[in-house]
């Protein structure tokens, strides 16, 4: 188990608590078992990459517009 990622185990877990956790939570809700239920990485298509980067440039450009507006406002 990747100790960096997960919460520390509780030192005083009773049998009842163990039972209640296993009964009440879905398997991938339990912190220590999350790694068995990870989502695999998906490959992005060319169109998706274009969209991602296009919107990224849109954001950078528009933030530039905001900065320009502040600059003109200050002047």
């Amino acid at each position: 188990m990747d100790q960096e990622f997960h919460s520390a185990p509780d030192a005083k877990v009773t049998r009842n608590e163990l039972a209640s956790v296993i009964t009440a939570l879905e398997p991938d809700q339990i912190i220590s078992t999350k790694e068995h239920h990870h989502c695999s990485r998906r490959r992005l298509t060319r169109t998706e990459m274009l969209l991602f980067w296009g919107l990224r440039f849109y954001l950078v450009f528009m933030v530039g517009v905001v900065v320009y507006q502040i600059w003109t406002g200050v002047r």
Binding site: V21, P27, H36, L55, L59, Q69
Partner: protein, 477 residues
């Protein structure tokens, strides 16, 4: 990911025979299970949900809703934050009762469409938004979206403390005392180390957002004019100008922002909602949106008398709005307005800093839950507190143009929304993690409509700044 749902509350789940939509999931044996403090707290909450769900009748239904509501109301009332309420107040004072009333209703409908997707994602995958982006699209986009969120959240947090400072300023509280007091409240709420308790405390505080309703009633609005504006979307005094576009964007940014996606999905995962709770999650979101719409409209109605009396509110801060309203609503009305501003900033400061901490933990693979004791969730609590302290400190620097920052933060939120929505759109249509819960066609059409509106509004803003004359071509001035 979707798991087998037990038919009754008492039916145990068998770890060795799990089925999942993901081909990468491996069966889990009981030997692998390490129980944490966080698991025990979450299991306790889920047991109450299961026990209530097993009972029949109206009261148990209501009880179930009570147990499951929270993230939706918190995110919607949390977004009625300092800059949002100031934007609504500025809108009411600048444009009166007219176009912006139905426009704000539309923005909350947009918020509902977007947040419903996070309900499904959170309940189906039990993961926060940043964690899913990291897992599905890789570390580059994971870190990228987290850094985006952190920057946006930090700027927004600054404005929350501006609202806190301005709201309490009405009562003569000194800025340093107001800001330090807000930090203290934020820290005390965290000391519960329990998601459920934290959520109930913040929900109680968030209800004070409705303080703007009595203030609006004290101004004796012309209800026929309100009804007429909601139906006709008129009038829009001054037409389409650069200022109108800025206010338009500020009002969109007051209801639809990236932190909401991250917060609600992470809160749903932290609360432990499952696919069986999606209906209640939607109800929770719709109720939150309704309450937030009422508070937003009330704020615009409350400041509309300033428009009728031709009072310029261009550079008003919250306390100045309250003082200007005093002749129309009396001292107690003005005091309620100032308290509402304080509450808006306070609740949002808590929810927004929490969304940053969730996102950091999810991407940096550190523990991230409000159920964690401080020792186990040190990085989670530290990110939350450090961000809040830094933002609070900035507000105390003298001479900072606070009102301008407030409006621009909302504008930046609108501009940052389309990239965030693309991640959400792709995740919620990802059959591998969502199974049968992928978005139906009509939901995708609505989501795309939201993206088109947001990008269109952003471009309109760009045109209004870079080429104001072009506005005339689209009917503006």
């Amino acid at each position: 990911m979707q798991m087998n749902e037990p038919k009754t509350a008492s039916e145990p789940r068998r770890f060795a025979v799990l089925q999942s939509n993901s081909p990468n999931e491996q069966p889990t044996s009981p030997a692998d299970v390490v129980i944490t403090h966080e698991d025990i707290d979450r299991a306790h909450d889920r047991q109450r949900v299961s026990a209530t769900r097993a009972r029949r009748g109206f009261r148990p239904r209501l009880g179930l809703f009570w147990l499951l509501l929270g993230p939706g109301i918190l995110v919607m009332l949390g977004e009625n934050d300092g800059p949002s309420m100031l934007s609504y107040a500025a809108t009411g004072a600048r444009f009166g009762v007219g176009f912006f009333l139905p426009f704000v209703v539309l923005t909350f409908v947009m918020a509902c469409v977007v947040q419903e997707m996070t309900v499904r994602l959170g309940a189906a995958t039990h993961r926060g938004h940043a964690e899913l982006i990291f897992d599905r699209f890789g570390p580059f986009w994971g870190w990228f979206s987290m850094v985006d969120l952190m920057i946006g959240n930090f700027l927004t947090l600054v404005t929350e403390f501006i609202a806190v400072r301005a709201g309490l300023g009405f009562f003569g509280v000194r800025p340093a005392v107001a800001v330090l007091g807000a930090l203290l409240v934020l820290s005390v709420a965290l000391m519960t180390h329990r998601y459920w308790t934290w959520e109930r405390i913040i929900l109680g505080a968030a209800m004070f957002n409705l303080a703007f309703v009595p203030v609006a009633l004290l101004t004796h609005p012309h209800w026929s004019a309100v009804g007429w504006a909601l139906v006709t979307w008129k009038p829009l005094p001054g037409g389409l100008t650069q200022e109108t576009v800025l206010i338009l964007l500020a009002n969109i940014g007051a209801t639809v922002t990236p932190w909401m996606l991250f917060f609600q999905q992470s809160a749903i995962a932290d609360k432990g909602l499952t696919t069986r709770d999606i209906r209640m999650g939607r109800l929770d979101t719709a109720l939150g949106a309704t309450l937030a719409t009422i508070a937003a409209l009330a704020t615009m109605l409350a400041t509309a008398p300033l428009f009728l009396h031709h009072m310029s509110a261009t550079n008003f801060e919250a306390a100045e709005f309250a003082q200007a309203l005093q002749p129309f609503v009396g001292y107690w009305g003005a005091a309620l307005f100032a308290l509402g501003m304080f509450e808006a900033g306070m609740v949002a400061a808590i929810t927004i800093s929490t969304s940053s901490a969730y996102a950091f933990g999810e991407v940096a693979r550190r523990p991230h839950s409000l159920n964690l004791p401080f020792k186990q969730g040190r990085s989670f609590y530290l990110v939350l507190l450090v961000e809040a302290v830094a933002a609070a400190g900035l507000v105390l620097i003298p001479g900072i143009p606070l009102v301008y920052i407030v409006l621009l933060v909302n504008v930046i939120a609108v501009l940052a929304m389309p990239p965030a929505l693309l991640f959400l759109y792709m995740l919620v249509n990802d059959r591998e993690i969502m199974g049968s819960l992928v978005s139906p066609a009509w939901a995708n059409v609505l989501a795309l409509a939201v993206v088109v509106i947001l990008v269109g509004a952003g471009l309109l803003f760009g045109i209004s700044v870079l080429a104001p004359n072009v506005l005339a071509l689209v009917g503006g001035r």
